[in-house]
Amino acid sequence: MKRSVTAVILMLMLLCLAACGGEAQKNGEAAAEPVPGQETAQEDANWYFMKGDVRIEIGAQAEPILKALGDPQSSYEAPSCALDGMDVVYTYPGFEVLTYVMDGEAKISGVVLRDDTVETAEGVCIGSSKADVQAAYGSIEEGAASLRMTKGNCELLVILTDDAVSSIQYLMADGTV
């Protein structure tokens, strides 16, 4: 009888472990999955870059965005040191899109604006003045050469050189690179 009780206890433990794992996975998937149809509701939740009609947002599924952007000028695949999947840098005229693989799916991990042929959704581009940046994003600390603003899972980094914008980057907000 006691043996049976012990066996049952152990079976329950195993089931708990398995179930717990399944639950954890589900939670992970739920957090990673984009929510179709909520694009409008999320419009202000994250910083995003628009190229024509294509909205590029950190953490978004890369495939539909890359398809909509068309063929890049070049791409550079950087295999993850050990983990599965490739980090890829896609170069388009005026900007680059960076992707990484999470749970077998490519996602956007960064956007770097390279010249003044493209601009942020707020109208700032490479070469914009400090005043333009302040008008779009608010005041910049005296003496600061960059402005970092986090919205949702995206950090928008604007770097100034001699009071003009020299780099604009959309990055992952948790500081991972």
């Binding site: 152990l10 472990l17 398995a18 794992g21 550079y76 040191c81 983990l83 780099s167």
Partner: protein, 352 residues
């Protein structure tokens, strides 16, 4: 009768612990056919002892230097304790852990890790830490490495972390519950295939090129530990085209080396002398060297080690020579296996 009453709970506790132990062994990733570099941290203990040179750092050390070449060309005994995206605090603790087993004459630290000021990825922490043997050093390494969402308990009892693998178990999990397949050659991970550099992304400007206080503190700790053990510390920037190594970073390391009387070698400044050709000597378009590249880098660096770090040629030691003969045989076998795969399929699908 009374004795039996005590015995039963004890037996139950023993059985429970044994069951949990077996479950843990079963559920932990085996790193045999995927994420193979996960075995590196644990493989060191098979190679521990008698190593005159220790390499610490990320994939730029375990892919780019061949201890076999150092032995064959110079009689230098060396071991690499590299793990994917190894953080500088992990490099420090790898050094401290190594000092529990042996005291090398020289430590070579790849400074690329200085770019990270905080833990980046739990998966990489696991690859660096789960294979380390338990000691106070490992406990400190875990505390230094954990991201906010991680728990110390999950490193003590990895079952807490990996129980969700229950539904993913495969034949490897049963076959390698109590053993592994060797992957590295004293920490070197071999790749014989070639993917040339054709294009490189432009470097992305940074808002601040200064390394963090945390990085400097750990670099000081590595320096101090080496000094305390009379070890020559050599800083290197390993040969790699991507990710970009900024001049602003390079000058900070050069200044630190000068202030502290250390050797600093940026391999990117010595491409001609090393003979590394990024159209033939890399397997992933310039991020890591393939076997040909690693042997070139090692052949060139071995001369510096021999001349400037006080390591001696140990090929006349019969016991050591015999030990390294075995390593050379394994090296040759893996090289042949990979070349065969490359010839038959055009790619290297398996390291072994």
């Amino acid at each position: 009768m009374m004795r039996m009453k005590w015995l039963r709970p004890l037996l139950f506790a023993f059985w429970l612990i044994l069951t949990l132990f077996l479950l843990q062994r079963l559920l932990m990733p085996k790193y045999i056919h995927e994420n193979e570099e996960g075995v590196l941290a644990g493989e060191y203990y098979d190679d521990a002892g008698g190593n005159d040179v220790l390499f610490i750092g990320d994939c730029e050390v375990y892919s780019n230097f061949s201890p076999i070449t150092l032995w064959e060309d110079y009689g230098i005994t060396s071991v690499i304790r590299g793990t994917p995206q190894q953080m500088i605090w992990q490099s420090y603790y790898m050094l401290e852990d190594t000092l529990r087993f042996e005291t090398p004459r020289a430590v070579v630290f790849n400074v690329y890790a200085m770019r990270y000021d905080r833990p980046q990825n739990e998966a990489y922490n696991r690859l660096a830490l789960d294979g380390m043997r338990w000691s106070k050093v490992k406990a400190d390494a875990v505390r230094a490495s954990m991201k906010e969402e991680e728990s110390f308990a999950s490193y003590v009892f990895p079952l807490l972390r990996f129980h969700s693998r229950f539904s993913e178990l495969n034949a490897d999990d049963f076959r390698y519950m109590f053993r592994s397949e060797p992957l590295s050659h004293n920490g070197y991970v071999m790749r014989v295939d070639t993917k040339p550099v054709t294009v490189l992304p432009q470097p992305v400007p940074l808002a601040d090129y200064r390394f963090s206080e945390t990085d400097w503190r750990y670099l000081d700790m590595i320096r101090d530990s080496c000094r305390a053990h009379d070890i020559t510390l050599i800083l290197i920037k390993s040969p790699s085209c991507y990710p970009h190594w900024y001049e602003e970073w390079d000058s900070q390391i050069a200044d630190y080396a000068e202030e502290n009387g250390l050797i600093y070698i940026n391999f990117l400044d010595h491409q001609e002398e090393t003979g590394i050709d990024y159209t033939t000597d890399t397997f992933d378009a310039g991020q890591h060297l393939n076997l040909a590249g690693a042997e070139k880098a090692s052949a060139w660096f071995g001369k510096i080690l021999a001349e400037q770090s006080g390591v001696s040629d140990r090929r006349s030691d019969p016991a050591m020579a015999s030990r390294w003969e075995e390593k050379i045989a394994f090296y040759g076998k893996m090289k042949a296996s990979q070349e065969k795969q490359l010839e038959e399929t055009g790619t290297v699908k398996s390291f072994r």
